[in-house]
């Protein structure tokens, strides 16, 4: 795409293009980056994890499918799913329209020790990763 991808400063990013927002209460909201949604194109289907499901950092935990192709989403942390974005079942396009707000995928409670969150990249580092991909 010719338009530059948005990369909010307050989020953490995985190399596989997920973002994580560490909330004030210690929970983590997860989604896919603006770059990822642009690369996929119009989403038509989102498969979310189940509430209570234990996630392992780097393991497949959701699927986002566009008209073009399906793509796995990898967990950015170790922990447990506490909430999923039900709105995406009927409106998967929210991920395209608002990847960092209305298009979030799920919330998780990260493990107390060894959550893996420290391994995620800052916005600036994620930008470098994207620059090197192009």
């Amino acid at each position: 795409m010719s338009t530059k991808s948005e990369i909010p400063e307050d989020l953490k990013y995985a190399k596989s293009h997920e973002w994580a927002r560490i909330e004030a209460d210690g929970t983590v909201t997860v989604g896919i980056s603006d770059h990822a949604q642009k690369a996929l194109g119009d989403l038509v289907y989102v498969e979310l994890p189940e509430i209570g499901q234990e996630l392992e950092v780097g393991a497949e935990c959701a699927v986002v499918e566009s008209v073009k192709a399906a793509s796995d989403v990898f967990s950015p942390a170790n922990g447990k799913v506490i909430k999923i974005n039900e709105a995406l079942v009927d409106e998967p396009e929210l991920v395209n329209k608002s990847p960092y707000r209305d298009g979030w995928l799920f919330k998780m409670q990260p493990d107390k020790d060894d959550s893996g969150l420290n391994e995620l990249f800052s916005a600036a580092k994620y930008q470098v990763i994207l620059d090197n991909e192009d």
Partner: protein, 367 residues
């Protein structure tokens, strides 16, 4: 190095995402594949199809040659300008390409073939034509645009050269008209009404600009694929190939068996296959299940036996569910199971097309 069509700069201007498509740099989309898809179903869109192969055949025996070369019979073409869809087969009865042939005069025919098969097909035809004294011109000096959608013809007409406008207005479906350098056909690959226009390269950019000014939007290859699949049209290299005959690809209707004494390349092999009736067939599938999308190469199961394969699959923007084409054994099926990731999902067997002229052609039960 990928080839560029005469409209390359125009695609960049329209913010296209460009991709390599069989050696050509082509627009995949201009922002949203879905929006472009709906634009064609509801209004009008223009596709740059200048990568397609345009072959001009001429000679006293041109008609006789085409009756030998093609599985459909150009004897069906009764008047100047008429068009015919056909497969071109090898001696084994398998599909080398699918194409549209337009009769211009008794001794002159224009063929539009696929981009991916350009060299193979043009060499094959030249080899077969030797004994017929038919001249074949593979012209790269043209641009080709397809303008498709319910308002496509109305919006395109004023953009055509004045001397062609009344002829183009009067065109029946699957007919064409032309001037010295322009060629206009009422054909397409979307299931909508519209034109396909072949024109000289120097005029391509201004024609494109005029179409956009007329309110026609540029459409990329991604939407072209969802539109053609909704229309039940085969894509060469995906649904059709050199390993399968037209009978195995749901295209028996394009094979002219009569007159029985017409010899065409592949006929003997095809007759034999037709008599045995053991060959696989192609069916349409709909998946009314939000948990997945049919995709090419997924395995199709019948009563838990691995039985076939999806050749093309996508999410249908018009129907709001997944559709596909699959090659399966010749028994009659009502439904099949498709393996999608770790799930076995049930798909209903239907007869394509799925969508024509903006409307669903199949019964869809609510999910």
């Amino acid at each position: 190095m990928s080839k560029k069509t005469p409209l390359y700069a125009k695609h960049l201007q329209a913010n296209a995402k460009m991709v390599d498509f069989h050696g050509w740099l082509m627009p995949l989309h201009y922002g949203s594949q879905l929006t472009e898809h709906h634009q064609v179903r509801r209004d009008a869109g223009v596709f740059d199809v200048s990568h397609m192969t345009v072959l001009d055949l001429s000679g006293q025996r041109a008609r006789e040659f085409l009756r030998y070369l093609l599985a459909n019979d150009v004897a069906k073409l009764k008047e100047a300008g008429q068009a015919l869809y056909s497969c071109m087969l090898n001696e084994r009865g398998k599909v080398l390409d699918d194409l549209i042939v337009y009769q211009q005069t008794e001794t002159q025919f224009r063929m539009v073939c696929n981009a991916a098969t350009r060299d193979k097909v043009s060499n094959w035809i030249k080899k077969q034509a030797k004994n017929f004294g038919v001249r074949i011109q593979d012209s790269l000096h043209y641009a080709m645009l397809a303008i498709q959608g319910p308002t496509a013809r109305d919006k395109t007409l004023p953009c055509l050269p004045p001397e062609l406008q009344s002829a183009a207005l009067g065109l029946k479906p699957f007919h064409s008209c032309w001037s010295e350098q322009w060629f206009v056909a009422r054909t397409g690959y979307t299931g909508e009404d519209g034109f396909e226009v072949i024109l000289p390269v120097p005029q391509a950019q201004s024609f494109w600009d005029n179409l956009l000014l007329a309110g026609i939007k540029p459409i990329g290859l991604a939407a072209r694929d969802t539109l053609r699949l909704e229309a039940g049209m085969r894509l060469y290299g995906t649904d059709l190939d050199e390993n399968h005959s037209p009978l195995e690809s749901g295209l028996e209707w394009t094979v002219a068996w009569t007159p029985p004494n017409r010899e065409f390349i592949g006929r003997d092999a095809l007759e034999e296959q037709r008599q045995r009736r053991e060959h696989s067939i192609m069916v349409g599938l709909i998946l009314n299940d939000k948990r997945g999308v049919l995709r090419g190469h997924q395995t199709v199961y019948l009563e838990n036996r691995e039985e076939g394969q999806i050749t093309s699959g996508t999410f249908s923007p018009t129907l709001g569910m997944s559709i596909g084409l699959a090659r399966v054994p010749p028994e009659v099926h009502e439904q099949v199971t498709v393996a999608i990731r770790n799930k076995q999902l049930t798909a209903k067997v239907v007869k394509p097309p799925f969508v024509r002229h903006g409307k669903a052609c199949i019964d869809i039960e609510p999910a």
